[in-house]
């Protein structure tokens, strides 16, 4: 009989706390060790955005399958829900970051005395009060929906009442619709406006695809860790195969959007657009290609066969690579605008802060896992998930 209740061991907590400590130390180093404030701020933004997005993808995973009336995912649904527990935490951290000077330090448009003709045209949108209004709306709506979805899911398991199942469907639909808009707009606000002159209509979806791939990689990793700890024995090869296919598919999807955006800008060669890639070509040449290799080439070739998606020996390394890869992708999105090519780099601050945030994320996720049985046995489709074969 499988172990349904997750117990957070002290050892695990300690590991996460150590990671958090590493983060705090590197933050301190960043401020005291002569690293440019901009660079520290940009790193805080990067990690805040990254892990908040991973949490959101967790929720996305749960809700999208709920409205798709899909059954197989119920076996791993709790993991997605647990990831979504990070949303209020990450949202709070992000808010804190902006309030404590992050906004002013790296967003050129917040400097009202430096606005040029083009930026002046955008003031109706790019202004500090409106920015905060949007920020609060996004974080608030996400956190609330995460909370209610989770609540409905737990209730469904507790009471097995179809009322909760329907409620969950409704909430999921609301989240999907909201998230479709907010993920796009938030990426404009928090990332694209770092290069305030530049614009690309695809940007929101591109960032979303990036987060989607890394979110699924994180989901796989958490499942792997749980399985290593002896949980989730009901999750079999078939489920991993499906998750692997997602990772494979979303990596291709990301590459598709990356190519679409790059090629179209490359092709038309209009200066107001090409400036974005010119900066990245000039100062981040290696990272530019590393990004493609980590996020497309490696997952594409390694996850192509059926077997590789079913064994952890391939799936886990690829997931780790993809998580690093999309961190790099975000790095490429943020640094040139926020810090500039010459002042950027990858050093203690970058690595340490990421470890720190990973610690927070892990802690919150695993803490959340303890709050409900790992298998939602009363979910109406749970049985389907258990009797699940893919013969391809």
């Amino acid at each position: 009989m499988e172990n349904l209740t997750f117990i957070l061991k002290k050892k695990t907590v300690t590991i996460f706390l150590v990671m958090i400590a590493v983060g705090v130390l590197s933050l301190a180093y960043g401020f005291l060790g002569g690293v440019e404030v901009k660079r520290v701020a940009a790193n805080l933004l990067l990690n805040n955005y990254y892990f908040l997005s991973l949490g959101l993808i967790g929720l996305f995973f749960v809700t999208v399958h709920t409205i798709a009336e899909s059954g197989w995912q119920t076996s791993v649904q709790r993991v997605g829900e647990a990831m979504s527990a990070y949303i209020p935490v990450g949202g709070g951290l992000l808010l804190l970051f902006f309030v404590l000077g992050g906004l002013h330090s790296i967003y050129p448009w917040t400097h009202s005395d430096h606005l040029d003709a083009i930026l002046l045209k955008k003031v109706a949108y790019l202004n500090v009060p409106f920015f905060y209004v949007r920020l609060l709306v996004f974080i608030g709506v996400w956190s609330l929906l995460a909370h209610y979805v989770r609540k409905a899911s737990v209730n469904l398991d507790l009471h097995g009442d179809m009322k909760y199942f329907n409620k969950m469907r409704t909430l999921s639909a609301i989240f999907i619709v909201t998230y479709a808009v907010t993920s796009v707009v938030s990426s404009w606000d928090w990332l694209m406006s770092l290069d305030p002159h530049w614009f690309s209509t695809l940007y929101g979806w591109y960032i979303f695809s990036s987060m989607l791939a890394s979110g699924f990689a994180m989901l796989i990793l958490v499942i792997y860790v749980l399985k290593r700890m002896g949980y989730l024995s009901h999750v079999n090869d078939e489920h991993m195969h499906d998750l692997g296919k997602y990772l494979f598919g979303f990596s291709i999807f990301w590459a598709y959007l990356w190519f679409s955006q790059y090629m179209l800008i490359w092709y038309a060669n209009i200066p107001e657009e090409t400036i974005y890639y010119l900066e990245r070509h000039k100062y981040f040449t290696n990272i530019f290609y590393v990004n493609l290799i980590l996020n497309f080439v490696i997952p594409f070739f390694l996850l192509m066969t059926r077997k590789s998606k079913r064994v952890f020996t391939v799936l886990v390394p690829v997931s780790v690579i993809v998580i690093i890869g999309h961190w790099v992708d975000l790095y490429m999105a943020i640094m040139p605008g926020a810090v500039g090519g010459e002042a950027s780099g990858i050093g203690i601050v970058e690595i340490g802060l990421t470890i720190g945030y990973l610690g927070i994320f892990g802690l919150v996720t695993f803490w959340s896992l303890t709050k409900a049985p790992l298998a939602p046995k009363n979910h109406p489709y749970y049985k389907e998930s258990m009797d699940y074969h893919t013969h391809y």
Partner: protein, 456 residues
């Protein structure tokens, strides 16, 4: 495989395998109904109208259309993109839904794929006819010639040639591979010798061997895996036709996914339009159930909403860009001389499908039929808005003009509609409209008489 009792059965009525065979082969047997004759007369007449328009275009030139120095593409490319979009549903249903294991696809994929093939044929007609020198159209192929001149691989139109050809061939193969076992069934059920010989030839000697089935499934799955990115690539490349340019309203990075989503949106709408009629006419209500229609309606909501978000994103980004040309292009769309087209597009594509949030509407066949027509209209106007309103007022106001279609252009469009329905009407007489073997494979798990005891 276990299926939750919550799920609605995909096949209604208590049926055994033999009954399934009989039901699905019924429309192929006997004499066609008088409605069939009326239909084919009407669509044939429309196709003849198109043939006349084709002659006019080829003989007298593109001058028989309403194009001018500024608007170089209008109905031709609008129709092309519209048809290509429609041609996305079949492969989407077969490939992507297969990958996502949506069993409800089995009842609709055959006809949707056939519709796809016919739609691509209709679509492919437009890039050909739009050439000023159709007879020299073979220049577009990279063949060795005396001047050692190749083609321009930078041109999205050339990518189109590769994409559309590949898509047509792969879709055809995909469709036919799926059709082989069913053709075996037709062959074995044929009472007449000639029929037997023909279907015997077409069925490639299918025996139903377990090994063959195993390979058949592998092939189907890999083809689905190949067709899924292919279907994305086709409309992506079509979108590149516009997005690579420098024309405001054309050059925007969101086009690739937005076009794909719009294509699936319009494709599903056309599938709905066809199937709502077909299921009734061919008595296939038990196979193509309201549940199927509802599922398709859900896809319509999703893709319609994605398209809506893309419209709004584009509009916002035009303002946000601060580029005056970009801004004007969008103001002109919404308020310029073609604003009516824009608002038809907005109403049909963004507002109408939202009605499907109501279960009552998305399970109502009449409402679905009407909305599917609306979506078809809206998606036509979307392409019209993109092609014509962007071109007719671009950078230099001195060249701004208006465009009006001529009877020849209308003829070409009506002609392809005629061709489309003619071929579809022939298809339902010649091939099984539902994948017999696939339906049988889900009959036990998702039929009305499924055995709940199974696989405990």
């Amino acid at each position: 495989m276990y299926v939750s009792p919550l799920r609605e059965p995909l096949i209604r009525g208590s049926k055994d395998y033999s009954q399934v065979t009989k039901d699905i082969l019924a429309p192929m047997a006997g004499k066609p109904s008088k409605y069939w004759y009326m239909g084919i007369t009407l669509s044939g007449a429309a196709a003849l109208f198109g043939a006349w328009a084709t002659f006019m275009t080829v003989y007298y030139g593109i001058g028989t259309w309403g194009l001018n120095k500024t608007v170089g593409w209008a109905w031709d490319i609008t129709n092309f993109v519209w048809w290509v979009g429609i041609g996305h549903a079949g492969t989407f249903i077969s490939a992507i839904l297969l990958l996502f294991r949506q069993k409800w696809r089995t009842s609709i994929n055959r006809s949707a794929e056939a519709m796809t093939l016919i739609a691509i044929a209709c679509a492919g007609f437009f890039p050909l006819i739009h050439m000023g020198r159709l007879l020299l159209g073979f220049f577009i192929l990279p063949y060795p010639n005396t001047r050692a001149l190749w083609v321009n691989f930078n041109s999205p139109l050339l990518w189109d040639v590769f994409a559309i050809t590949t898509y047509l061939l792969v879709s055809l193969v995909f469709w036919y591979i799926g059709l082989i076992p069913d053709l075996g069934t037709v062959r074995d059920k044929a009472s007449n010798k000639i029929r037997k010989a023909i279907y015997g030839f077409l069925s490639f000697g299918w025996t139903g061997s377990a090994k063959h089935w195993s390979r058949h499934e592998t092939v189907s799955l890999i083809l689905a895996g190949l067709a899924a990115p292919l279907v994305l690539s086709v409309h992506t490349i079509v979108s590149f036709d516009f997005a690579t340019s420098v024309i405001p309203g054309w050059h925007t990075t969101i086009f690739p996914p937005y076009f794909v989503s719009g294509a699936v949106f319009s494709g599903f709408a056309m599938v709905l339009t066809l199937l709502i009629v077909t299921r009734k006419a061919l008595n296939l209500e038990e196979y193509i159930t309201v549940g199927h229609i509802e599922n398709m309606n859900k896809v319509i909501i999703i893709t319609g909403s994605i398209v809506g978000i893309a419209y709004i994103t584009e509009f916002f980004m035009a303002w946000y860009s601060g580029v005056e040309y970009e801004q004007y292009a969008f103001i002109n769309r919404a308020t310029g001389p073609y604003a009516w087209a824009y608002w038809i597009m907005m109403t049909c594509n963004v507002i109408t499908p939202q009605l499907f949030w109501f279960k009552k509407i998305r399970t109502n066949l009449v409402a679905t039929f009407i909305i599917s027509i609306f979506v078809n209209i809206g998606m036509w106007f979307e392409r019209f808005v993109i092609v014509v309103t962007s071109l007719h007022r671009d950078y230099l106001p001195s060249s701004w003009v208006m465009y009006k279609p001529t009877i020849v252009e209308i003829g070409l469009y009506v002609g392809t509609l005629g061709l489309f329905f003619t071929l579809f009407l022939l298809f339902i007489r010649v091939f099984p409209v539902i994948a017999i073997a696939e339906v049988k494979s889900v009959l036990k798990s998702s039929g009305d008489n499924k055995k709940d005891s199974h696989h405990e």
